[in-house]
């Protein structure tokens, strides 16, 4: 059935073609399939097809624009920020922002020890995005390795990996993160480790499920028949076909990681003072709810806007890459 | 006076690439107790036309008609609430997929009694008694027990019997059966069809049978409408249609019946029904028609008279020979 499809179908879907191309590098049956599935007419490149699907979604484009803007701010923080994030201007403590009677030296006002809120927010973007990206990269990499291992080796490897993941899932995410940080000590790098552990099961389960589904398909069998080695089969033949849901999960995972890290920061278990981490800034601001609402409002708004933008982008990615997942 | 009378019914769907006309100026008359068949390939708009009559199309569909009368009432001018009093009581529909047409969360009995509860003034006990009676009528053994079964516990044929029982619950005047046997096993198909015909004959209910099976049509219907690409290309009484089809499409359909094949190869109609993108400018059948002329390819065909089966054709066939008509130019 599927073999016939591969030959008859003049326009195989993008991921299918991806793999056929890859396994075409090897010999035998797979190579024949490649020749037969060569698209006849002009077809837009996968990247262009993806972009046209993605850009149809206005929310996703807006999200992308905001994410790019914040990323640029974070990247060029030393040039963009008006002040140092940790310099204390003792003569202007708790200065309100410019729209509430402040002055342009400190557009978003100053905090309780006279640090410029705007500069702290801009540098905070570095930290939050940095945490989000690091967590995403590490957990995707580990997720791929563990998930593929569980799918390909089965037996004891699978049982151990999946049971450990079950256990991690059973502990409420923040509680587990707190436990890990309590063990390792509160710091930025330990925050990354804790959040990575908490979100790892998602990636492992996703990769394993996707790989198991792919393993039953004919092209994998064809590649095996053609004598493709196990590692090549895992990473070159099967993995590209599991990428679509993984990319979507990775994008949405960044926003979850940012939220989780901010929560740890808020509880005093994440970045330590005077690091301008958004969650920690909120924790410092708690006692000034009455007197200086802006130092409470602004860092939270920064978190919210960043997370909403990433989620919008992730939803757009999902719709463009993986119509099957189009559920919510 | 006919029970159902439709003139110039059109349905179009809003799609990403502009409106798509799924049903194009279709007429239909069904007298009380009559059995009319609508035949056509998949995508010829026959189901959509009947869903429009029932008012069951999604909101992206636009329905227009000069007339849509049922039992002396104008379906077009009725409010949704008034229409719901007719739908499910006097005018009912049986669908193609019996397995997915029953709600998996409710028992068979609940779903049969529900229609009665909505339309009839019966007590709970009376509804239950009627439900048992109905299941007996459609030939389901142990009706008492089956009433408390869930749909997934029934086979396809059994589900379709339940659907028929449900349709009959309020003693309707007209049943629209949309390919009621297509999704079933071949062995079950004949049973279900026989059941439907028997019940139709016994109760004198009108029946519109949508099908793509010419053999079924020959055995059952009094009149036949042939649909092609959303248009009604011919309408005749069954005997006339089989003896002397006037539209080339009807002729080709009949020629494709295994019983009529003379050579060793079964004749087939080349090509496929035109879609949204490749709609011809003239006659919609012209790309696949053996008799097509330049006129056919450029000018939409007129409708012939009743003596020529209301054929939508420039050159309707008589005894298999195309007749050039004077006004065609």
């Amino acid at each position: 059935m599927a073999e016939e499809n591969a030959i008859d179908d003049p326009m195989p879907t993008a991921p299918e073609r991806f793999v056929l191309d890859a396994s075409g590098l090897s010999l035998g049956a797979a190579g024949v399939v490649v020749a037969l599935t060569e698209p006849v007419g002009e077809e837009p490149s996968p990247l262009r097809a993806f972009w046209s699907a993605f850009s149809e979604n206005r929310g996703a484009v807006l999200g992308l624009a905001v994410v790019v803007f914040i990323a640029l701010l974070a990247l060029f923080a030393p040039w963009v920020a008006p002040h140092s994030p940790i310099e204390q201007f003792r003569q202007s403590v708790l200065l309100p922002p410019v729209w509430a009677g402040g002055n342009w030296t400190f557009p978003f006002g100053t905090d309780a020890v006279g640090r410029d809120v705007l500069s702290r927010l801009i540098y905070g973007a570095r930290i939050s995005l940095g945490i989000g990206l690091s967590v995403m990269v590490v957990s995707v990499a580990l997720g791929i390795v563990l998930g593929l291992a569980a799918a390909f080796m089965r037996g004891i490897v699978e049982v151990v990996v999946m049971r450990v993941m079950d256990m991690v899932v059973a502990i409420p995410s923040l509680v587990l993160a707190i436990l890990i940080v309590a063990v390792l000590g509160p710091s930025l790098s330990n925050t990354i480790i804790a959040v990575t552990v908490v979100y790892l099961p998602r990636y492992v389960r996703l990769v394993r499920a996707a790989a198991l589904a792919e393993l039953t398909k004919e092209y994998v069998i064809a590649a095996q028949v053609a004598g493709v080695g196990r590692l090549r089969l895992m990473f070159v033949t099967v993995l590209p076909n599991c990428l679509a849901p993984l990319i979507v999960q990775a994008a949405l995972g960044i926003s979850d990681a940012i939220l989780e890290a901010a929560a740890l920061g808020f509880l005093g278990l994440g970045a330590q003072p005077p690091t301008p981490e958004w969650g920690a800034m909120l924790a410092d601001a708690r006692e000034f709810i009455r007197s200086a609402p802006w130092i409470v409002t602004l860092p939270g708004l920064a978190i919210l806007v960043t997370v909403v933008a990433i989620n919008l982008m992730g939803d757009g990615l999902r719709d463009a890459l993986d119509p099957k997942l189009r559920r919510s | 006076m006919s029970l159902l009378s439709i003139r110039n019914l059109s349905v179009s769907f809003a799609t990403g690439r502009g409106p798509f006309r799924a049903v194009d100026r279709v007429d239909l008359d069904v007298a009380a107790g009559e059995l009319v068949a609508i035949v056509g390939e998949s995508g010829s708009g026959k189901s959509v036309a009947m869903l429009a009559v029932m008012g069951l199309l999604p909101w992206i569909a636009t329905v227009t008609a000069d007339r849509m009368m049922f039992d002396g009432r104008d379906l077009l001018s009725l409010s949704a609430r008034e229409r719901r009093r007719i739908i499910g009581r006097d005018l009912v529909m049986i669908f193609q997929e019996p397995m997915s047409s029953l709600n998996p969360c409710f028992t068979v009995g609940f779903q049969i009694r529900e229609a009665m509860k909505a339309h009839l003034d019966l007590s709970r006990a009376q509804r239950q008694a009627r439900a048992v009676e109905l299941l007996e009528l459609v030939g389901i053994p142990e009706p008492d027990r089956r009433l408390s079964a869930f749909p997934h516990q029934l086979s396809g044929g059994m589900s379709q019997r339940v659907m028929i029982a449900m349709a009959l619950a309020c003693k309707p005047k007209l049943i629209i059966a949309d390919e009621p046997t297509t999704a079933l096993d071949v062995t079950i198909q004949a049973q279900i069809l026989d059941l439907l015909l028997k019940l139709q004959k016994e109760s004198g209910v009108g029946l519109v049978l949508i099908t793509h099976d010419m053999g079924v049509v020959a055995e059952t219907a009094q009149r036949v409408c042939v649909h092609y690409a959303g248009q009604q290309v011919e309408m005749q009484d069954t005997r006339g249609l089989f003896r002397d089809p006037h539209h080339p499409y009807t002729a080709a359909l009949l020629a494709a019946l295994p019983e009529r094949a003379r050579g060793r190869l079964l004749p087939s109609i080349p090509g496929i029904v035109p879609g949204l993108a490749d709609r011809p400018t003239g006659c919609l059948f012209s790309p696949r028609c053996g008799f097509a002329t330049d006129t056919c390819r450029t000018v939409p065909p007129p409708r012939a008279g009743a003596e020529l089966g209301l054929a939508l054709c420039h050159t309707p066939l008589v005894a298999g020979v195309p007749q050039r008509r004077e006004f065609a130019a």
Binding site: V183, L304, N311 | S101
Partner: protein
């Protein structure tokens, strides 16, 4: 059916064992000496130190401590808090009703708003209402709830003065002995005028804060599930019977659409308990979440260990119950 239940129950056993092992090991690794943390005195006399370590079982080899721990767990002994000297289970049970009350109210808030919002959005697909619901859901889903809590306190309590800032009860005006541990019930039982209102007022903001993320998840899930079911053949059948839209949507569609939603609601338990840690910290709510955070700073190993064990056990059990419930509301599996 019974088989299915037993298999699901059996599957949780290895998870529990792994959980015990990991909490035990992790808690051993926490830096800092618990005795030092407790007494606050450095340079404590060696004999006194040895005596204290012996009392707490800290002089035993680690494997022995682990076996003792498992033995204790199996006998309902979750250890004794180093700080308060009371059994962890006892302490947990005193605090848990507060968390349960909060989580329950949050879930009610989320379901009561989320399900109708999702249904309306699906029925009016593409409308302004649909877009508004989805936008609010996106914001809720992306909300840093600790900030959301601060904002609400700032606006509702400080600015408008509508709700109390923190705690479970107005202890200056009302005092009564806890009976059930649930403030809403106890305040009614106390018979003191206004007590129930005060208890409810204290619950409003924390419930909203804790319920925000589940609300967003439930609304999104309900909407997508409804959209899927609205396209099913049996919904068309129901409409073909001439049933009212209310009955078609509210009964035939919703009944099926809710099956995946119930699962999602159930799986929010973990989210709720995790969120409770933050919510309780913000509102000084005396529940297990706040207690857990305080145990860390007090280096109260057994409390931390027992607390995490108990919370995780609750999550596992609730997920198990959700599985059963899923079977119960889905006749296809029930009779499968």
């Amino acid at each position: 059916m019974l088989n299915l239940i037993l298999r699901r129950v059996a599957l949780t056993v290895p998870t529990f064992v792994a959980l015990m092992f990991v909490t035990f090991v992790a808690v051993r690794l926490v830096p800092g000496d618990p005795i030092e943390a407790r007494t606050g005195e450095r340079g404590i006399a060696p004999e006194r130190l040895a005596q204290l370590r012996h009392e707490l079982g800290l002089d035993q080899p680690v494997w022995r401590q682990f076996l003792d721990y498992i033995y204790g767990l199996l006998h309902g002994d979750f250890g004794v808090s180093i700080v308060t000297k009371t059994p962890v289970l006892h302490e947990f049970l005193i605090l848990f009703p507060a968390t349960l009350e909060l989580a329950f109210c949050a879930l009610v808030f989320a379901v009561v708003l989320g399900v109708p919002a999702g249904v309306l959005a699906a029925v009016k697909r593409g409308s302004v209402l649909d877009h508004s619901v989805m936008t609010v859901a996106l914001a809720g889903y992306s909300m840093p709830i600790f900030w959301w809590g601060l904002l609400l306190i700032m606006f509702m309590s400080e600015y408008l003065g509508l709700t109390p800032v923190s705690g479970r009860m107005d202890l200056i005006n009302y005092y009564f002995e806890p009976v059930t541990g649930f403030m809403l019930i106890d305040s009614l039982l106390s018979g003191q005028e206004g007590a129930f209102g005060a208890a409810a007022a204290h619950l409003v903001l924390p419930s909203i804060v804790l319920g925000t993320i589940p609300l967003a998840v439930i609304a999104r899930m309900t909407r997508s599930s409804m959209l899927e079911v609205l396209g099913e053949d049996y919904v068309r059948t129901a409409r073909a019977k001439g049933l009212s839209p209310l009955r078609v949507v509210g009964l035939h569609t919703l009944r099926n659409a809710l099956i995946p939603v119930v699962t999602v609601v159930g799986l929010q338990t973990g989210t709720l308990l995790a969120g409770a840690v933050l919510t309780e910290t913000i509102f000084a709510w005396p529940g297990v979440g706040k207690w857990l955070i305080e145990s860390i700073s007090r280096r109260d190993y057994p409390a931390l260990q027992g607390g995490i064990m108990l919370i995780s056990a609750i999550v596992i059990l609730v997920n198990l119950i959700v599985d059963m419930l899923y079977v119960a509301i889905n006749p296809r599996i029930r009779h499968g």
